[in-house]
């Protein structure tokens, strides 16, 4: 954990990157990380918990906080959580998850679908 960055955060008066709520989630993470480092199952459970309780928007804030605090393990953990959440899911599911809308020209999307058909094999049911 980079303590100098944390100190800087507390010293910064005009800090929009990290709200207090998020900081309280992220900062205890290293302790949890150390405690359950050897136990992957618990990490998995924590991940499931995170996904259920934390909206995609909150997860975004967590990622940004981890990035700002230069906390690599937390950043990796959150990013991996997002990746696991969208793995093997359909295009529509992922769009909804990210809050995206298709802005392709009509026909462009079909073209891409055909070209990258091999990458859509084996997708889960929604």
């Amino acid at each position: 954990m980079k303590f100098c960055t944390v100190k800087q955060y507390f010293d910064d008066e005009n800090n929009n990157n990290v709200t207090n709520g998020i900081a309280t989630t992220v900062i205890p993470l290293p302790n949890k990380h150390l405690k359950i480092k050897a136990n992957n199952k618990e990490m998995e459970q924590y991940e499931q918990e995170l996904l259920r309780n934390v909206m995609p928007q909150e997860l975004t804030k967590l990622i940004l906080a981890a990035n700002y605090l230069n906390f690599k393990e937390a950043l990796d953990f959150f990013c991996r959580t997002v990746a696991n959440a969208i793995q093997n899911k359909s295009v529509d599911y992922v769009r909804k998850f990210f809050g995206l809308e298709s802005d392709f020209e009509p026909g462009e999307e079909e073209k891409l679908c055909k070209e990258f058909a091999w990458s859509f094999e084996g997708v889960d049911e929604d």
């Binding site: 928007q57 997860l59 975004t60 990622i63 793995q87 809050g99 990458s119």
Partner: protein
């Protein structure tokens, strides 16, 4: 009526729900909170945890996601059967640390532009195996170094028009690679770095532009460099011979002393119209020899690159007019200092170039400008219409 009515009321209810739900509330006011608005570097970090196949699939999410997957630094090449049959890729750039080992059946049928920058190859065959799958490849850039695993390899691409090769060697390795190139359609060829054994198997009849920049190899008296030093000159001139159909040539033949250059330019550069030569104290004779075999040269640009360690190599006296093409119209000498050989050279050009239109001498030092103008304007000029300029360029 009933089904419609119920649907209507359901919809109405839903709308109310949406207004109240906290989820919708957040969506409405904080677009910045959406994951997709995270910076590209973080989104790529997320994608790097996905198998390549899935990362590629994100290209269909929206237009801004279309090429995000290509920024992911590590490609999962273990899933070769998925990744390699990429039917529509037109430009592919692989760089830094990726290991390339394509299966023998793979293809990139639309690939026109391939850039391999400091990637690792399992063995020399991997290069040609990769290239064999690119039936319409036109542009190839290969930046390699002594860690890449390339010792003996081929580049055989009948459609290739543009080739850019760069080799770096890290001590204590020597540039000991052997490369055979078969690219008869080549129009532009560039080489930069430490020259090993490079052979062109087919004549480059369509060559328009060539560039050769031989890095100054740190020449020491150590025994392990001896092997490289022997034959250095031959390697340089063998490469240049292969490029002798070029219309335009940019050349820096390195800083090895003249004693290491073997026989120079066994062939003529009949098509050469433009020469840009980087001069050092040790390669005057290379410049002279090249001018001797370029009878149709129209533009000559000299750039000086002096280093302190450079030993002076004597310039051959110009015996007769043959060193300057009768077609020369443009002459430029950069970083002119007025040294003995420079004066002799400029004098010679001005005297012999009968159709010279512009001669430009640029100096680095403003204080030098006046004295240079004074001196150079006294040199006899055979072209009455020649415009002589002395300028200051830092």
């Amino acid at each position: 009526m009933e089904p419609e009515g119920s649907t209507k009321s359901k919809r109405k209810r839903k709308r109310v729900e949406l207004e109240v739900s906290p989820e919708e509330h957040v969506h409405a006011d904080a677009a910045v909170d959406r994951i997709s608005n995270l910076p590209d570097s973080i989104l790529c970090h997320i994608l790097s945890f996905l198998p390549t196949k899935e990362a590629v699939a994100t290209s269909i999410l929206s237009s801004s996601w279309n090429s995000l997957w290509t920024l992911v630094p590590a490609l999962d090449l273990d899933s070769q059967s998925h990744f390699f049959p990429c039917k529509t890729v037109v430009i592919l750039e692989l760089w830094n640390g990726i290991a390339v080992d394509p299966p023998s059946s793979f293809e990139f049928p639309s690939l026109k532009d391939l850039r391999l920058v400091h990637v690792f190859f399992r063995n020399g065959d991997c290069v040609q195996r990769l290239l064999s799958g690119c039936s319409v490849l036109q542009d190839l850039k290969l930046c390699s170094d002594s860690r890449s695993g390339l010792i003996r390899f081929d580049i055989r691409v009948p459609t290739l028009k543009y080739l850019c090769l760069q080799f770096l060697t890290f001590k204590p390795s020597l540039p000991d690679y052997k490369l055979a190139i078969c690219a008869p359609a080549l129009e532009c060829s560039h080489f930069d770095g430490d020259l090993g054994h490079v052979v062109f198997l087919e004549k480059l009849a369509n060559l328009v532009e060539a560039g050769v920049w031989i890095d100054p190899f740190v020449c020491t008296r150590e025994a392990w460099t001896k092997g490289y030093q022997i034959g250095y000159g031959d390697r340089v001139f063998r490469l240049l011979k292969a490029l002798n159909k070029a219309k335009s040539l940019t050349l820096y033949p390195g800083n090895k002393q003249c004693v290491d250059f073997g026989s120079i330019y066994p062939s003529r550069f009949k098509n050469l119209v433009r020469l840009n030569f980087t001069l050092q104290k040790s390669n005057w004779h290379v410049l002279q020899a090249l001018l001797l075999v370029s009878p149709n040269l129209e533009v000559l640009v000299i750039d000086k690159l002096y280093s302190r360690k450079n030993q002076l190599c004597s310039m051959e006296p110009f015996d007769g007019p043959g060193y300057v093409s009768s077609q020369l119209t443009t002459f430029r000498f950069n970083q002119y200092k007025g040294s003995k050989y420079e004066v002799e050279f400029v004098k010679y050009i001005l005297k012999e170039a009968r159709v010279l239109k512009t001669a430009t001498i640029s100096v680095c030092d403003t204080a030098l400008k006046e004295s240079v103008i004074e001196e150079v304007s006294t040199f006899p000029r055979s072209s009455k219409t020649c415009l002589l300029t002395v300028e200051v360029l830092h």
